[in-house]
Amino acid sequence: MSATFLGIPPFPEAARAAVDDSRTRHNLRRATHTIRDKRASVVGELNDDWQLLRAEGAAVKEHTLRHLDRYLEQLEESVTRAGGRVHWAADAEEANAIVTRLVKATGETDVVKVKSMATQEIELNNALAEAGITAYETDLAELIVQLGDDLPSHILVPAIHLGRAQIREIFLDQMAEWGTPAPPGLTDDPRALAEAARLHLRERFLRTRTAISGANFAVADSGTLVVLESEGNGRMCLTLPQTLISVVGIEKIVPTWSDLEVFMQLLPRSSTGERMNPYTSTWTGVTPGDGPQEFHLVLLDNGRTDVLADTVGRQALRCIRCSACLNTCPVYERTGGHAYGSVYPGPIGAILTPQLRGMSSAVDEALPYASSLCGACYEVCPVAIDIPEVLVHLREEVSAGRGHLGEKALMAGAEAVFSSSRALGAAQRAAGLGRNLVPGHLPGTAGEWTDTRDVPDVPAESFRSWWNKRGKGQR
């Protein structure tokens, strides 16, 4: 329970180590390309309808965010009316304290968990552990990460960086420590691995009386919470225990039940590349004699209202955590998720993490630059978050701050050269004269170029100089 993102260096440095890790590179290339292709094919079959759905998804989210105060109150009302209890958490600390208190009130020391980004974000498991409560992850990939004392590296598939041989080793080594051990002759056949996890978890589901989840959506008008998953393990957690505690970011609201229609199409196709989601669980408060008899909803802010105040950056709150942007991102594919130093990796992480944390560290300040601005993320995002636009916007914030003196000087120098065609012409003539002096390996930052790439030959004459001579010759 010691794994934490604290201590991971800023992106360029973390990425340097990551791109050298051949095993992870191999695993990631395979996994991201498989899921990328699957998504492309099921999105492609909707033709033009996809863009309409996407626009609708963006519009619903945008509208909700504009009127979030109203919808949050409505949600609280509906959940309370249906027999649930609503708690408000301003930050991670508050949320962890609320959940810890609620679990303690049940008298239990074990809880099962449905995979949830919000609880990862607040590092709930660590907080519970400090209070003597053990949280058991039940999502297969999340279980692998937990058993391996690893960190999640992907929103949907937290263990995407691991291959099946590694997973087998983790199961053999660690399952016994946590409960039902792995069968002795376990192979790395995916079915055998899944079966081992099933046996390990089944016993846990039957014994544990308190569950913790997140939610993909919270419906304001009906008070319904919605979880989408592929394994059925989430449903076990959501139905078998006596007490259910759901930690949900305030941006997860949709106004009405019928709004789900749009997202039930957008999310599975974008995320797992499926036409329809395999296990969709919905619950509204408590139902006597059916499912958990005590339900708590913890609504989490943790920086979200600050993000809302930024008119460009707030589109990041539309995110439905499908992970399509990660799967398509050429940077993520080569670095994996850990290099982003946060539970939210990839393009969405690069814009969400610094905003949620308030650009408070060198790690945060490096994230907006962890992109070539190729735009592939924006192209696939089912709620049309213009990630490159937000990246540039956050870069502006970084460059307006203190530091980065070398870069500022360079940019000022460049602007001076571009401020008149005379200055540019003079610079070009100087470059032309010095053209044979350019060494093959440059010092300093420029060495980042020449380490792996040759520099182009500087021509003796710029285009503009040629044009001027040509003009004189012709006229």
């Binding site: 340097r16 791109v19 050429p330 192209e379 940019m411 602007e415 065609s421 980042e448 503009r464």
Partner: protein, 261 residues
Amino acid sequence: MRIALFITCVNDTLFPDTGRAVVRLLERLGHEVVFPEDQTCCGQMHYNTGYRRPATRLAVRFVKTFEGADAVVVPSGSCAAMIRDNYPRLGAGGSRLSRKVAGLAPRVYDLTEFLVDVLGVTDVGAYYPHKVAYHPTCHGLRMLGLGDRPYRLLRAVRGLELVELEGATECCGFGGTFAVKNGDVSSAMGADKARHAVETGAEVLCAVDNSCLMHIGGILSRQRSGMRVAHIAEILASTEKGGSAGPAPDDAPAAKEAVTR
């Protein structure tokens, strides 16, 4: 038609052959090319690195330089995209700059768009007897939506054998200052792009943007791969008589590579 050429600072300084090729091509098609001398840089580097105010000043300068033009042709997908896609984000709504940008931006074209959409040609009468692969650069592909235009132009070139590039739509890893700020990831991306390029068996990799080609070409050259890069304008400007990349015969002195005599 009188066409204003925005050469871009990178082409102007480092790749004048591309500029000469554009001039030769458009003149061969019967059009007059003008070069507004006050032009410098579109501001893309400043904008993408987070220096919005200098970028805005450069945008103002660009608009002033080109506002009288009927059509502005840019032999760089990313600079054309900077002007068309990002300039509108620079001025506050209703400001002078945003009004002027709204008027000018629709008349700014990447070279391949201009040829296909405005001049209505796909066969530009070029001759280029080489095996060629085309890399669709990100801004050309996603921001400008160039689609199949470059392919149509290349397919119409006599002697040219166009081969398919695997993972074509994946970014090459250049990304402006990304190439040095995140040099390792940039190189890792470039290595894959270069590998796919070499695997095509083509002699030449072409694109609508010399900055991406400078990155991929820098890797191909460092690897001594024997593959070379060329801006699409240089291919489209080549004719049986006139040679390929490089200046027309009468302005020969700076010729670096006379490839297809």
